[in-house]
Symmetry: D2
Subunit: 422 residues, 4 copies
């Protein structure tokens, strides 16, 4: 079943030094249109507006996830004889490589307006994209569906699912290191090589040697720090809010039949539901489309769309203020104040609760195992540090900075906000 | 004249750790539309198709060039009392920050078809863009022109010109380190801090302490290696060729009145000469526009445009073969063979001579100076290594890979090419 | 009062890139015999037997501590105008540079047998070593005592004391980064530059901006990880035990008048109390002396000394087993079993409780401060992560590996130990 | 023949991240007394007096050389099926691990006085040390001699010799990276992984793919820069001169029967020739012995020995001045001036010519090979950069700094030296 590439292929990579490809299947998947499109989707969405280095794409992260899986499998094979068959190995590698293939531009933001989910698209692409599915079918007819099922976290291949999507998965291992490198922070750093060395397959689970507990803690904390310092940075959240408002405004204008500049590629997403959109149509959506259209909207007729787009494109971002969580009646009052001052609160105001993840056993926790092979309990039973990682919520109000500064007519709003400050 | 920002502002940077901004002038320039647009222009054009990590923008490099200049000025100020006035300091900082502001998407490639030069646009933007020029004019009325003159390498501020554009300039110092980091190679590494420490202002020149000669050699070699291993990588050159052919094809279609999809932003560049295009029009050109249009062209009616665009967007790049330099008559023969096989040689064939830079004294060489202050000759007089860096040329033929592999009807062409191989 | 060195001096450093010296006072202190002796004392004692890269000396760490202090002071001076006088600045720099000058070879181990404390020696050297004290007195007559008082954590200069020795001190900042680099682990990594940026002097305290809380957490965790993964690594603790037993054995032999090889430099420490030993005598003690003598003892007549020394020098280290904490009667039983099998338990057995530090408010905690300047409570009030860092104890039994493996006659002991295993 | 260790063993390493040991043979060799002794010999001799970070031992470098060989063999095995037998693999690994086992403290300096060569000792230890030779003989009776022959560059295993000792050997690959990391410079950086990837076995030679030529250049230049910036740094050479003079003085005193403190371990080297000294005696020589004795000599009766030792131990090093190469008569004049001023020129003056290596074909040059397998000529035929690396000589006079500064009675000497300055 394995078709080797003639010669080992390599990609030079800033995180792993080299990414090694030995299977023709992997090589051919990388060269599909659907996979190359990931070069045109940023890994961290709007984060580059906070950390200017965050300009890397989902393409580089997907290659890195594949490589991390390759390393894990090599360790498992060398030391525990798993996987015993080549199909399982390819399943794990393909799932790692393709796990993000359904991501669109600024996914998290755009999806919430268009109401679809990149996970669904990933699965559809694996099965419906003729180029990708044909390559996967070279393994066998069921293979595309099996890869899709792994990504859907179905039960059939629990160990592979665990490696792709759990508290200890290759996806996270790569993105923490890669996002840290590109943003220029050390928060995401951890001992990758050692982490892999203390992992072992155990029935349907991946467990960790007890002597490696601190290495797992370091990795769990890398995620904690990256969330608070990078992924949920208020400037980034504010950029997301702004972009979401832009897209909502467009949708509003379109829905009520107002003129709005739209390239053909965007129209399906405004007129049809996700399941009425074809994979081919979906794959045309990338940051080229979004960035170009955003640029155009900076000259839109509608003053709200024009202003919001201009703020986003030219980085006049919303600011934020931390407050206690507001009651609906309080929110309503603020909305009214905005409206009274000529700012439509649907577009110029947002209440956001940012919640960091914490560590959850029920979200595929991490079990420890003794040197002797005796299975122990979840790491949270042994590590006070891990237990301390409870989800944390922050409530913030986002709006234009001139309002926050209390310029001119906004002075009273500022007074109000000051009173709510956390 | 100096307006300090209220508090020292910093940008987290993967190369310099932090970029420090103390002047409100700099802060405001960074926040202009024209400067923010650099986020939408990749620093290395098509290099990401060879080194997937090369996705960083000219925005990050421009900040890094500014920071490197800031470090050089701090060393010069601390140890040699230069610059003595604040205007000169700001001139150097602004020129460093803005030196690439005129770059467009895939500049080197697109410029050659549209026949304009980013240097010219840089100068025009400084003077004609209302937002940028107004900020610069806060120093004084002549300031925008002076910054433009520095970028045009005019004589008025020779020391600043030297620092911005010479064999030993802050532009190169930043891009070598940044491009190396992002591509994941060590070729561009050198001792930045020490290099700065051995530099000193000397009249109108920047000279280097003789004891630092090896550090300068390391820096000169960093450039040598980056050129051969990254900037002139045949896969990258082949991508440039392909993109240039796409744009030429579009121009051809437009010139002869054929239908071709064109967004408004591109039309001026096809219908008018550079000096008839306004700065505002120019600033609308970014990679959003280019990437979106390229995507559209993959569905063009014209088969050549459609095919070439598809190759570029989906990375079915041209391959290359190294040959001896061909005579015109030989080139003509190959062109004919292509045509005979149904490949228009204007679009499917390219003869390229890649020339690495070498070291030139007359291109603002680097003079040494003794500890005692005695000026010595150019470094090339003392360093055999530097002297060995003569420009090197490589002749290569670029065309589709199926031709190179001699598939089907292309077998005879392949035979011909093999005979020419270097 | 300040005497500048003619030209800025620099040391190339693997952690800080460059260490900058501008004051002649600092330069002259570095060149004293007492300070140069730190080159012959390893920073991490016996850790090199676990992590082979841990071969760096207290000399390099002392320079690094000085440099970190220099950076903190530069930030404090630039942004908060502290310290206002040059004497205070020099006091902080000298205390940072000299804080470890009293360390001897394998201090923690050797001190416990010889019963003295390196802190005491540090203070005595500052005042009694003619070369060091004469240089310090160039500031003024009280200066040596003031530096000594800072190291003794006396009240007079609370802010400087805080910077040298607290939960947030320059000593720890340098050693975490340096020990991590040399051992090759990432556990000690944190954002030094940002940590310094969020620190500010506040009356007699150093406080941290609340927005920098996560950066402080990262730094506190760096210590947590380094303790568990490096400093308290059981192989290192076992090496310490072994070395301590060697020295105890020598003391025993000496005390009872048995022949034992001793170089002159060691004799005072066996025959006199610490306060009867002169600073000049103390400064002769370094790792040259210890290593040479250990080598000699591998050929000692006394079989116990010979065997233990050989184990240490040639790395046949003690192994360990984790057990629950044992009662005295259980310990006694094990001691007897060792004795019954021909192993003197005073030298071949050790019960050790390793306790990691945790975070203590009362050990100079870290207060937060709002952007507005409003002082908040200790970080532990806000950070669940910091609160989770309680001191942790591990109980371990150390003895020769052949015993642990249950070789030959040691089989019954092994059975006993297995029953106690944690 | 292969005895695997029960579980893959690893060493955490600052250069290679992990060093992997799978063979029990290697594991047992690492644990020999002779190999552990390398922990007590610094890799860079007196360089730590110039670059304070250069405190790493030959032990760490030996492990790193082994690991680099392991990587090369893995690549050769995966891609070219070499070595075909396990004995050859072990031969290469053992030779790499043990290539420096004969090094003594400050070898290059001490050897020149005692007139022996570490290469000879390496070979003798492999065969004569009972512990080492017994382990090696587990392979077969001839194995110790074969390893010794590889180190002696005998013809029998040319490919292994090439990998251990040539222009492209694993020894150099490790030390460049390791010395660079520890000194904190980037001069020794090169693309290790890629360098290995472009190497291939070709008959009795190791050749390099032509497409990897620039990577080889980078590696050759890493050596060039490390020699000029680190290994031949005048402060280091001056330290070597000083140490050599100390040892010569001791030898002189001993030879003429004067009292001089000497530990037993040193006596054989003063009274007997190298071939009359046993391996056991030799292995007692380490930096513990040297450092301790040097310390003692700072209190020697002989004023010259006392003064020189004190200068070395407490870093009052000799300074140097670059001059043109002096004729014997000129040297004689200077010697006389020293003598006239009370400085014995045998101990207070040294004329040194430092020669950097250059690149030599006849010293096991590096041949290129085409993708097709066609062997090409030596790299120097294709690379102007490599050709430019001619050996360079610098002539320098070393003596106490007070003489160079022309203090007091030394003023005339200084005048003379100034006249000779290069």
């Amino acid at each position: 079943m394995i078709e080797w590439v003639d010669k080992e292929k390599v990609f030079k990579d800033p995180v792993h030094d080299y990414i090694y490809v030995q299977d023709r299947l992997i090589w051919d998947l990388i060269n599909t249109r659907a996979f190359q499109r990931l070069r045109r989707v940023k890994q961290l969405g709007t984060s580059f507006l906070t950390y200017h280095g965050a300009e890397h794409s989902r393409f580089t992260h997907s290659l890195g996830t594949y490589e991390t899986m390759r390393k894990v499998l090599s360790h498992f094979d060398r030391n525990f004889g798993w996987p015993s068959d080549d199909r399982m190995r390819l399943l794990a590698l393909c799932a790692a490589l393709l796990h993000d293939i359904g991501h669109g531009p600024f996914s998290h933001t755009v999806e919430s307006v268009f109401q679809f989910h990149h996970e669904t698209w990933t699965q559809r692409i694996l099965i419906e994209d003729p180029e990708v599915s044909r390559i996967l079918m070279r393994v066998d007819e069921d293979f595309p569906q099996d890869v899709a099922d792994v990504i859907a976290k179905k039960d059939k291949f629990p160990l592979v699912v665990k490696l792709i999507s759990s508290q200890l998965d290759v996806d996270r291992m790569d993105y923490l290191l890669r996002d840290a490198l590109n943003t220029g922070v050390t928060y995401g750093t951890f001992e990758l090589e050692r982490l892999i060395r203390v992992m072992r397959p155990e029935g349907n689970d991946v467990v960790v040697k007890k002597s490696g507990m601190k290495t797992v803690e370091q990795y769990i904390l890398a995620r904690y720090f990256m969330y608070s310092q990078v992924y949920l940075h208020p400037v980034t959240v504010g950029s997301d809010v702004l972009l979401r408002h832009v897209v909502s405004r467009v949708k509003k204008l379109w829905d009520r039949g107002d003129a709005v500049y739209l390239v053909d590629e965007l129209k399906p997403f405004l007129s049809r539901k996700a399941d009425e959109i074809s994979v081919a149509e979906y794959l045309e959506l990338d940051e080229g489309v979004m960035n170009y259209t955003l640029q155009r909207w900076t000259r839109a007729e509608d003053p709200i769309l024009r202003d919001l787009s201009d703020r986003f494109v030219n980085r006049r971002l919303f600011g934020s203020v931390d407050t206690r969580e507001l009651k609906e009646v309080e929110r309503q009052t603020i909305r009214e104040m905005f409206r009274a001052n000529g700012l439509n609160p649907d577009y110029y105001l947002s209440f956001q609760t940012a919640t960091t993840g914490g560590y959850h056993m029920y979200k595929q926790g991490i079990k420890l195992v003794e040197e002797s092979g005796r299975l122990l309990d979840d790491i949270s039973k042994y590590s006070g540090l891990v237990r301390s990682l409870q989800p944390e919520s922050k409530f913030r109000i986002f709006c234009p900075k001139e309002v926050l500064r209390g310029e001119g007519k906004y002075k009273p709003i500022r007074g109000w906000l000051d009173a709510l400050r956390d």
